[in-house]
């Protein structure tokens, strides 16, 4: 093909590609990509991940939806990612609208944009993408023939900060909900009715939240008086959508033609977590726990390797060592390892659910690799308060066992800024690290390494700490400097998060609807790629709060009253507010709530989903 045989937009895109960094991000064409003739389907969906291809392409949620949707003969699902800053400039200068990778069609030609929002720091990129696509940013400015903007992902369990931009949210698991959305959209298209009619139809689907059909009334102090529906079709509350049984895992992964993060076959071995760590958003919103059978996981890994030729597999879950059949699974993996020469990663192992037996089988898998543990807090007292109980002695036993089994380095994750945290608790982090290093040296001398990864606690919606305040920036700085001093000379490597980046997350994660104006203004002030250390700036955000007349501290640094109506109270993630309230009180008393696999505390999941569970007794639920 010469340049003349391609269509005008493709030629325009082609011309700017040699002028930008890593142009392979923008061309698609990977193995297992699906391209359908444009006119052969009724519905075109652009799946949008608002960060660059190099990150977004490895997102498992996006890959699953791509596969599910493209299995339908009446749907074409294509992909689009955020252009990097140089490409954004080149697109704007050449007047090229943002396009999909498969057909290189402008996003505005799709019926639906399915936007993935797994974390809050993507919000400005999301707006930038709409703008680059020439789609109005605010949902009430869109006309009948403009794409439906659908959003889902872990961040939208509090949808309110982006409620002014999104037409409809998928709350919870998207595998089935997306099918319902497509069906409803197709029926609406045939009807020839208005956009408002589509929104009303969508609002009736379980798990779909259409923000324009709800009104929020505020008290003079800025807290919420109440949330009401403005149309009978709107549900109140909106129960999240879950799968009674996890579907067979994805095996048809796209294989990128350029290097990206995490090039591997990833299989989720279970969804949900029963531990109930009080800071943990994922642990609260992804209940109930559902396990996949060992056989299904192994077959999927095998098939995934056949389809991709990858050299690495990864088993995903929130707490892999809690998987009921972890030993048989790893033993099965060993056969795969020797046959195929692949590497295996197994994140999220919990210290207290670690057996010697598990250590023995893992040893054979990772020769010379590092080991990661997450005690999250330095002292026993604080670990009880955050409901991640672990005695110092248990911790040291595990550390000893890891070094005994031949590992040379351990990475320890901690959080600072927990509610109830004192400087004494922070000092205990350093002491724990030093003790772990000393233990390592007893076995392997100077080769033993400890790496402390320090993040900052951010109060998240739907968790027992949702009422809590975010630590003062100055106090966080003091705690970090205390740690740096305490670890100086100890040969413990320490890395930490930028406290300002955590502050932004603290503002956004518990925002209400008024936050949309702040996000919009911050984007206008130039905020982009807020998740990138080299791009993020706090100043455009601070200015945005001033410009729209909102107090950022109201969102970050305010202890909420236990009876306050929270901006996300009309979204039911499955765990009852009463249980969260009790847990918050227990945390202040240092009282722990043991793992609920043994005993049900009636968190609310079974109340909401008991019928679903009964309908699928094979679902692998681990509720007692």
């Amino acid at each position: 093909m010469t340049v003349n045989q391609r269509n005008t937009l493709q030629r325009e895109i082609e011309r700017i590609l040699p002028t930008v960094v890593k142009p392979g991000r923008y061309v698609g064409g990977e193995l297992n990509q699906v391209v359908k003739p444009w006119d052969s389907v009724k519905t075109h969906i652009a799946l949008v991940f608002p960060d660059i291809y190099d990150l977004g392409q490895s997102n498992l949620g996006l890959a699953i939806l791509y596969d599910i949707l493209n299995q339908r003969s009446d749907v074409a699902a294509e992909r689009s990612f955020a252009p990097w800053v140089d490409m954004e400039a080149a697109l704007r200068e050449a007047g090229i609208p943002l396009f999909s990778l498969e057909s290189q069609r402008p996003l505005s030609e799709f019926e639906i944009l399915g936007v993935s929002l797994p974390y809050e720091t993507l919000y400005t990129n999301f707006l930038n993408i709409l703008d680059l696509a020439g789609i109005p940013l605010f949902n009430d400015d869109r006309s009948d023939n403009q794409p439906l903007i659908l959003a889902g992902g872990q961040a939208v369990y509090n949808p309110e900060p982006v409620a002014s931009f999104v037409d409809a949210f998928v709350i919870g698991e998207g595998e089935e909900a997306i099918q319902d959305v497509v069906d409803v959209h197709q029926a609406w298209q045939t009807s020839g009715r208005s956009r408002q009619d589509l929104l009303i139809r969508l609002a009736r689907i379980p798990g779909i939240y259409v923000p324009s059909l709800y009104a929020v009334d505020y008290h003079p102090d800025g807290t919420i008086n109440n949330v009401t529906t403005t149309h009978p079709a709107a549900q109140l509350p909106v129960d999240k959508r879950i799968m009674a049984e996890l579907p067979p895992p994805l095996t048809r992964f796209l294989v990128p033609n350029i290097e990206i993060v995490q090039e591997r076959v990833s299989v989720e071995i279970m969804r949900g977590c029963t531990r109930g760590c009080r800071f943990c958003h994922a642990g609260m919103v992804n209940r109930p726990i559902r396990e996949r059978p060992v056989k299904q996981v192994l077959e999927a890994l095998q098939e995934g390797l056949n389809q991709t030729g990858y050299e690495e597999v990864s088993l995903l879950s929130l707490s892999s060592s809690d998987y009921s059949h972890i030993i048989p699974l790893i033993e099965g993996l060993q056969c795969l390892l020797t046959e195929r020469q692949v590497n295996i990663t197994l994140p999220s192992l919990r210290i207290e659910s670690f057996s010697e037996e598990l250590m023995d089988v893992l040893q054979d898998l990772s020769p010379g690799g590092g080991f990661t543990l997450a005690p999250e807090a330095g002292s026993e007292r604080l670990r009880d308060s955050i409901n991640k109980p672990l005695s110092d002695a248990e911790f040291m036993d595990t550390v000893r066992s890891i070094f005994e089994h031949g590992w040379k380095s351990i990475k320890l994750y901690f959080m600072i800024g927990h509610p109830q945290e004192t400087f004494e608790d922070v000092r205990a982090i350093a002491e724990l690290c030093r003790a772990a290093l000393q233990e390592g040296r007893r076995f392997i001398g100077g080769r033993a390494k400890i790496h402390a990864g320090i993040s900052t606690f951010i109060p998240k919606p739907h968790t027992p700490f949702q009422w809590s305040t975010f630590d003062e920036t100055q106090v966080i700085e003091e705690k970090l400097s205390l740690l740096r001093d305490a670890l100086r000379g100890a040969k413990v490597k320490m890395t930490w998060n930028d406290p300002q980046a955590s502050l932004l997350e603290a503002w956004l994660s518990r925002g209400d609807r008024r936050m949309s104006a702040v996000i919009h203004q911050a984007w206008k002030n130039g905020a982009r790629f807020d998740a990138w250390g080299d791009q993020f700036q706090i100043e455009p955000w601070q200015r945005a709060f001033q410009q729209v007349g909102l107090d950022p501290e109201f969102y970050s640094h305010r202890e909420r009253d236990l009876n306050e109506t929270l901006p996300w109270d009309h979204i039911n993630a499955g765990v009852k507010k009463a249980l969260l309230q009790r847990d918050y009180q227990w945390s202040q008393m240092g009282k722990v709530r043991p793992d609920c696999r043994q005993q049900c505390y009636s968190c609310g999941i079974l109340n909401t989903f008991s019928e679903l569970r009964l309908a699928k007794p094979t679902g692998g639920w681990k509720c007692p």
Binding site: G28, N257, I258
Partner: protein
């Protein structure tokens, strides 16, 4: 038969299409390793903790170019028929990579890189070029004895690397440039350097490699 006698060296001729234009040399090697894994052929691997397929790519294609003809050698532990190899590779190839030919070559032959002699390219332009002006530019360039240029802080003479350079009117289409450049170890001409010397910018054109010429052929 001992194992040594079973080792087979396979030469593959393939294309690099639009979707692979921006897949660089190292990424292309990884792409081929995965392609070979998927093929299920008895590919020969290096020893050690991280075994890698033994591959040999003839000549790196600059980023942004497409190609009708690329060459690669790989090795197998057991023989297979050429037809079977070709079919399995074709089944495992990503879009834009067509397997055009498969041959078995003697084990003792030199590496592909050291057999390289020259590459041929065709250049098409996004905006139609004036035929006479282009021919004049090319003639002016070829008239010079030396074309001293600097690339990556090294100074070199581009002129002796140009074996052929001509404007070729395509029937019913815009004019193209065809060129043949030396591609020997340590003396490889780049089409983008020639085009730059002719006064073109990277966003003006698309380069296609049409032929790889080995020393012996």
């Amino acid at each position: 038969m001992n194992q040594q006698e079973q080792i087979t060296r396979v030469r593959v001729q393939y294309t690099k299409g639009h979707s692979l234009r921006f897949t660089g040399h190292l990424d292309l090697q990884r792409l081929w390793e995965r392609l070979l894994r998927r093929s299920g052929l008895p590919v020969r691997y290096s020893q050690g903790y991280h075994p890698r397929a033994r591959l040999n790519l003839a000549s790196a294609l600059p980023l942004g170019f497409v190609s009708d003809k690329e060459l690669l050698d790989f090795w197998m532990n057991e023989p297979r028929s050429v037809d079977e190899i070709q079919a399995r590779l074709a089944d495992s190839a990503p879009p834009g990579l067509l397997i055009k030919a498969v041959d078995l070559v003697p084990l003792q032959e030199d590496s592909l890189q050291s057999q390289m002699h020259a590459s041929c390219f065709k250049v098409s332009f996004y905006q139609a070029q004036d035929r006479d002006a282009l021919i004049q530019k090319i003639n002016d360039l070829l008239m010079q004895d030396k074309l001293i240029r600097t690339r990556r802080k090294k100074t070199y003479d581009l002129r002796p690397l140009i074996l052929d350079l001509a404007a070729t009117p395509q029937p019913g289409e815009d004019i193209q440039i065809s060129m043949k450049l030396l591609a020997e170890p340590g003396a490889t001409g780049r089409p983008d350097e020639v085009l730059d010397a002719l006064g073109f910018d990277v966003s003006d054109y698309l380069v296609r490699r049409t032929e790889l010429i080995l020393v012996k052929s």
